[in-house]
């Protein structure tokens, strides 16, 4: 065969093979992987813009806004489009380091999507950026709804705060995008789903530089659905009063309940923090100081701090004793001589009380009487009965991270001290000291059993009509006996400072021994006795005696609240009667 013909065939075949390779490769790109590339092409050009919904407001029991929404300006950057010059200019304007900006922008994996790097910038910063927006590649500014807390630090522990969502929080939840705010604590966290609302989605077409070139006609934009308002049971005026009464103290906790249904009327923990500061976002240094502050401002002392309840616990030892043996009511033990000797150890009382019966032992808070009473009924009766009052268990309030405290029963003592635990442990438990730990909220709830014939309502922050009650199965006779003793405490005992003319109150003082410093002052009680409106539990850290410190504060709280009720009644009664006439 002619050499030319052979060469012709070889070259022709090479060309054909190369052409087939190209066709095959384009079949791979356009058919086999066509869907993938179509999606990538759409992702290139279509940007979904999430417009955050304004959060629902949080309203107190009288409809006062304790958390609302205000507009704020944010800055976002598109990593693919931003250049070094723009970065350094932006860092000067925002007062952030370039590294911080880059780090923040790296949260978003897609370099063509804008990432919010600063929230709530000032008008000055805004105008500096707006002036040069055409020179700044990949920088956008916009308006977003921001959380605002008009009462600053007053309700921090109860209402909580919102902060920018973290990568862990966003994982697997399609309802959130980067740069969103999420409730981190308190009501904001517990009722996040209700408050949050739904993002609006806008579809825009962008070019390779990340600039918007127009709207996408074929995809309908969805406006944001605002979050739903949440009504809480708090009385903001009462909380303000409490903060004034506790002004002189550094660390304190106070909770007020409607004892009939468990509605939280006030929840105040000191020291506090202004939740508005979280909107900007704290830098790591600010976070560290906040978290390592020895006074622990992040801690909700009402639900998360555990204290020995001191003498306020004697109420429940007495209840336990009476419920197991009603005859204990008349029982007199060895008289109080200011101390009680057990083996080689002296157990002190705060006063020489002489010989007392149970009622007077409560009224005058005699430790020696309760040492002997505790020993008489035994560890198992104490542990079993008091756990029915909710000690050692969470109350179930609608706030996160509630603590259960510690109720040291037999098994706990054996685990902790081995078989050698002593009568001394029962002595300590009988006067509410030692290993017994309760939260102020637990204590308040336990006291509400006197109001509801032995039932304890589950405390709640959100307004609702149904209440869950826990039954304690304590005999009515025992409850009535101890209630009378608690009235005596206020009338003639350790809490005469609570006495308000014309308003019978009852309760019990306590002094919680604190191994690290001065004792904590405690009072728990309610008023009026015949138609209870408010139950107060006050704890002032390192302040001294319950009777001299916590009791007078309680009186002012009760007075303030009952006055406000009277005031409200006189205001509402007139229009309500006219309504009746019209009907």
């Amino acid at each position: 065969m002619d050499e030319k013909v052979v060469n012709f065939k070889i070259i022709r075949n090479i060309i054909l093979v190369l052409a087939v390779v190209l066709v095959g490769w384009s079949i791979r790109l356009q058919i086999v992987e066509g869907k993938k590339y179509s999606r990538l092409s759409e992702e290139n050009r279509i940007r979904r813009i999430f417009n955050p919904a304004p959060r629902g407001r949080i309203l107190d029991r009288n409809g006062v806004e304790v958390a609302n929404t205000r507009p704020g300006f944010y800055v976002s950057v598109v990593r693919a489009a931003i250049d070094d010059e723009t970065l350094s200019a932006l860092s000067r304007i925002l007062g952030m380091s370039i590294q911080d900006i880059v780090e923040k922008s790296k949260i978003e994996k897609n370099i063509y999507n804008p990432v919010k790097i600063a929230h709530d910038i000032s008008y000055e910063q805004l105008s500096l950026i707006e002036e040069r927006i055409d020179l700044f590649n990949g920088v956008e500014v916009g308006v977003e709804p921001l959380r605002h807390y008009p009462y600053n630090d007053l309700l921090f522990h109860l209402v909580g705060y919102v902060g920018e969502i973290t990568c862990e929080e966003i994982e697997g939840d399609p309802g959130y995008v980067l740069g969103d705010y999420i409730g981190k604590m308190g009501v904001e966290r517990y009722y996040e789903k209700i408050l949050k609302g739904t993002h609006g989605i806008e579809y825009v077409e962008v070019d390779a530089k990340g600039k918007e070139v127009g709207k996408i006609a074929e995809k309908r934009s969805v406006p944001p659905t605002p979050g739903v308002d949440v009504n809480i049971t708090i009385d903001i005026a009462l909380t303000e009063s409490i903060s004034v009464y506790l002004e002189d103290f550094e660390k304190a906790a106070c909770v007020c309940l409607n004892p009939k249904n468990g509605a939280v009327l006030a929840l105040y923990s000191k020291p506090s923090f202004d939740p508005n500061l979280f909107i900007h976002g704290l830098n790591s240094e600010e976070w560290n100081t906040l978290l390592t502050d020895p006074s622990a401002p992040m801690y909700n002392r009402v639900t998360m701090s555990c204290y020995p309840p001191g003498s306020t616990f004697k109420t429940f030892i007495a209840l336990a004793a009476l419920d197991s043996r009603m005859t204990v009511k008349e029982k007199r033990f060895e008289p109080c001589l200011g101390l009680y000797r057990l083996g080689r150890r002296d157990f002190k009382c705060w006063k020489r009380h002489g010989s007392l019966d149970l009622i007077n032992a409560i009224v005058h808070s005699c430790d020696v009487y309760f040492y002997q009473l505790g020993r008489a009924i035994g560890i198992d009766t104490i542990a079993e009965r008091t756990s029915r009052f909710g000690f050692g268990k969470r109350t179930g309030i609608d706030l996160h991270n509630e603590k259960a405290g510690n109720l040291p029963g037999r098994s706990w003592l054996e685990k902790r001290y081995g078989m050698n635990w002593t009568q001394g442990h029962i002595f300590n438990l009988s006067i509410g000291q030692g290993d017994l730990l309760v939260t102020p909220l637990q204590l308040a709830c336990a006291y509400s059993l006197f109001v509801n014939d032995g039932k304890i309502p589950m405390p709640h922050v959100i307004s609702r009509n149904d209440t869950t009650y826990f039954t304690t199965n304590i005999s009515t006779e025992a409850i009535e006996t101890v209630k009378n003793a608690l009235i005596g405490v206020v009338e003639r005992g350790t809490a005469t400072a609570v006495r308000i003319p014309g308003i019978p109150a009852c309760g019990k003082t306590g002094t919680s021994q604190n191994p690290h410093g001065d004792d904590h002052a405690l009072f728990a009680g309610y008023a009026p006795v015949d138609d209870p409106q408010i139950l107060v539990c006050v704890l002032v850290e390192n302040a001294g005696h319950g009777g001299s410190i916590a009791a007078p504060i309680t009186r002012r709280i009760i007075e303030a609240y009952l006055n406000s009720l009277d005031h409200a009644d006189s205001l509402t009664s007139a229009p309500s009667t006219s309504n009746v006439q019209e009907d």
Binding site: R12, L22, S26, L29, Q30, V213
Partner: protein
């Protein structure tokens, strides 16, 4: 003796050029398209003119054209002040001399190879290698690797067509494969083993010695040279070869090009509707990556039509080379065919992410007057050869 020109060469190139005008309008708009239309009309007139000139005349003036082209390339290498030194401005028009250097080199190679009645030894390849190598080196130094690489396949195919045994050519240029393979020790060892087995069975001492020595040296020297460079120097060399790298990195171009073609699907997004192109995700839209836009807007359907046109054109040129009795003309046509075929394959391969990025225009379709004119000059000569193919 007057014969008709081959009409299929005319209509395939015509269709491809019109498609090019369409795609340039789609990617770059009206004013760029107008410039290209002017270039196309001019190129068409030149091709018409060339088709009337007897191939014999080209034989006589080939050395002169080649000398002028090499001197011109040399001149811009020393005189050019815009970097990379690829362009000459004449009035309002920019000209890329390397396109004409390709044309001139094909002429010169055909001139030399036609004069050699027998090609069989390595020594016969010395002069052709120099003819192709000198302009290749000059273009490479501009720097324009995309244009410089084309001289190699032109040299190989033309000397093969002129009668050089294929395996001789293979052995001669095997050190190039060795240099590329040397970046991976396994690839290089495997390559050397296969080469040695092949050479052993050829039973030719000169081949064996040359093949072994040249391949071993190349395989040893390349990694040494490369590794003696600092990282930044290596990067600089890589970017030297590809100065069109954008700040987002070369892979971004390829990804966007693949997205453009892949998202076109079977029938494409429709003329003027390519979003990758419109929103400027696609780089070098009207020049080196114009084929991506074609794939996006006309889909697999469009790609197959365009490839069919190219393959048919190559087939007609190859047939012409086979049927032409004049040795010079036959070798000349094989050279032009190789030039156009190779650029087409490289360009499309790059846009599909099949080959590494080298800047090569797509013949007849990419925007660029010099490339269009030089291709049409080649086609003009092929047409004149097709008229007189039966004469010696």
């Amino acid at each position: 003796m007057f014969r008709k020109i081959d009409p299929s060469i005319v209509w395939t190139t015509g269709l491809l050029s019109l498609l090019g005008i369409m795609m340039i309008f789609s990617t770059a708009g009206y004013s760029i398209m107008t410039r290209q239309i002017i270039w196309l009309i001019f190129s068409f007139v030149v091709a018409l003119l060339f088709s009337r000139i007897s191939p014999r005349i080209w034989l006589n003036i080939s050395p002169a054209i080649y000398t002028v082209a090499v001197l011109l390339t040399l001149a811009i290498l020393f005189k050019g002040d815009v970097y990379p030194r690829r362009w000459i401005r004449i009035g309002d028009v920019s000209i890329q001399p390397s396109e004409f250097t390709k044309f001139a080199t094909v002429l010169m190679l055909a001139y030399y190879l036609a004069g050699k009645k027998r090609l069989s030894n390595f020594s016969d390849m010395v002069v052709p290698t120099l003819i192709a190598g000198v302009p290749a080196l000059l273009v490479f130094l501009e720097p324009d690797l995309g244009a410089a690489q084309i001289f190699l396949p032109i040299l190989i195919v033309m000397s093969y067509w002129a009668g050089m045994p294929g395996w001789k050519i293979l052995i001669l240029f095997s050190p190039i494969i060795s240099a590329i393979a040397s970046f991976s020790i396994y690839a290089w060892v495997a390559y050397m083993v296969i080469l040695m087995i092949f050479l052993y069975f050829r039973r030719q001492l000169t081949d064996l010695v040359y093949g072994f020595v040249s391949n071993t040296l190349m395989g040893l020297i390349m990694p040494l040279v490369w590794n003696s460079l600092k990282i930044y120097q290596q990067k600089r060399i890589l970017s030297f070869f590809s100065p069109w790298i954008d700040p987002r990195g070369m892979s971004w171009q390829i990804i966007q090009s693949k997205i453009a073609i892949g998202s076109g699907g079977i029938f494409g997004k429709g003329f003027l509707s390519g979003t990758q192109k419109k929103l400027e995700f696609l780089p070098e839209r009207h020049t080196d990556f114009i084929f991506s836009c074609l794939g996006e807007e006309f889909g697999l359907f469009g790609i197959i039509i365009v490839l069919t046109l190219y393959v048919y054109l190559m087939y007609r040129l190859l047939t012409l080379a086979k049927e032409t009795r004049n040795r010079f003309s036959s070798i000349l046509v094989s050279g032009f065919m190789t030039w156009i075929a190779y650029q087409t394959f490289i360009n499309i391969g790059v846009t599909m992410g099949l080959l590494p990025v080298t800047g090569v225009p797509l013949p007849f379709i990419s925007y660029g007057g010099s490339a269009l004119l030089s291709c049409f000059m080649a086609i003009g000569i092929c047409l004149s050869i097709s008229r007189v193919k039966m004469s010696y």
